[in-house]
Symmetry: C2
Subunit: 219 residues, 2 copies
DNA sequence: GATAGCGGATAGCTTCACTATCCATTCCCT
DNA sequence: AGGGAATGGATAGTGAAGCTATCCGCTATC
């Protein structure tokens, strides 16, 4: 497969394919001459993965690079690949990290996690810090009615994470597991959020229109 | 409160405050002279809300504008505000919308939602389409082990959405409800994802290190 | 009455993700 | 064997986004 075919098969413009090659997201093809290279189906799969991460997962090219680099390293412990994927999905710090209000939020989240028996790596835990960002922001806007939702999220996420990790771990080869972690972390986030919104719409139609018009759209 | 105090109190650089004023995210202060204006605590709250949406929720300035415009309109039905918030959190189309594989994914999600009795507005439903994007991407990467997770997400999201809508609806004044919808939709997403990652880490440490070293970091 | 700060307008900056253009080389069809 | 198209590689340019800097004439405050 030559570069133009790779471009055609994936739907990615040829200059963009070249760009990904330059940036190291896509490994170079097998050289057959000074200015000729051969690309295989694994390049196509990789390209599709990149696009899914960028378009559906909204990762930056730099983050995709970091995730793929971690997942390409065959001697990296699985936990580090998970960490890289989490970092990519997470990396964006609110600027109030370290302020008292933020520290309180972090302590609150940490405490709730520990009460549930979660094992949290306390230092440099991107997920914990992002949770603190969100809680601190909710607190700053002064809406106590939303506080109970924190617990709702904790509750919802516990069985979910277990099923996710089990699903990924059941994938046989280390190689597949690593790919599963990346896909599952990034695309799972997008899917989960979409379904959450869908459910919200359903419930709010039910509660709001139910008493007014009663016209059920779906089901 | 003058503009420099507003900047100092919020931690937002003064030129950025001016920028938000220009863009219409922040309403102008009350003019006291040709080149003097007075800002109140509602401006400070608004500024904090903007920053939370931008930094924690990762909304673009344009999306923040759209959400705030919808929530500022006092005669807009609540469902439309919810729609605007959902759109802002959602808007990013994968370029394969309409292809057969994507249509299949959409049909699958729609079917699962209907089987659960959800009321889905079928035409132009951003959440449904985003879910289809994610499912199509998972399918394209050929990882059937992840398919059962779709159902896991459906399951998790159902009680969650109910609690969220109820929490927001319990907020008394229409005004508060609208603010709650915006905050809850955007920051809730961020928090939910962070907690999901935290739980994943906990479970994977448990399953992976549990048999090897057994050194529980947290708890 | 000096001077610091104001609002408003305009222009500039940086990053990101591409996109376009060259070039010498090579493929591949006739 | 000859010639147009495509290739890998390098370099430069583009457009959007989100600020940031500078200037201006005016005003509040000391």
């Amino acid at each position: 497969m030559r570069i133009s075919e790779l471009s055609a098969a994936s739907g990615v413009p040829l200059p963009t394919v070249k760009y990904y090659l330059r940036e190291g997201l896509l490994p170079a093809g097998e050289r057959t001459a000074r200015n000729q290279a051969e690309y295989g189906p694994e390049h196509l799969a990789r390209l599709r993965l990149i696009r899914a991460l960028v378009e559906v997962g909204r990762l930056s090219v730099a983050d995709v690079h970091a995730v793929l680099a971690a997942s390409d390293n065959p001697r990296l412990p699985l936990n580090d690949v998970l960490g890289a994927a989490h970092d990519a999905v997470t990396r964006r710090a609110a600027p109030n990290r370290g302020e008292p209000a933020w520290n309180d939020a972090r302590a609150l989240v940490l405490d709730m996690a520990k009460q549930r028996g979660w094992q949290v790596h306390e230092q440099h835990c991107a997920a914990l810090e992002q949770a603190a960002d969100a809680v601190a922001a909710v607190v700053a806007t002064d809406m106590p009615e939303l506080y109970p939702l924190i617990d709702v999220y904790f509750e919802a996420v516990e069985p979910m994470a277990r099923r996710e990790v089990e699903a990924v771990l059941s994938m046989g080869s280390e190689d597949q597991i690593v790919r599963g972690v990346v896909i599952g972390t990034v695309l799972g986030e997008s899917l989960l959020n979409a379904l959450r919104l869908l459910a919200q719409q359903s419930v709010s139609t039910e509660l709001l229109e139910g008493g007014e018009a009663g016209e059920a759209t779906g089901a």
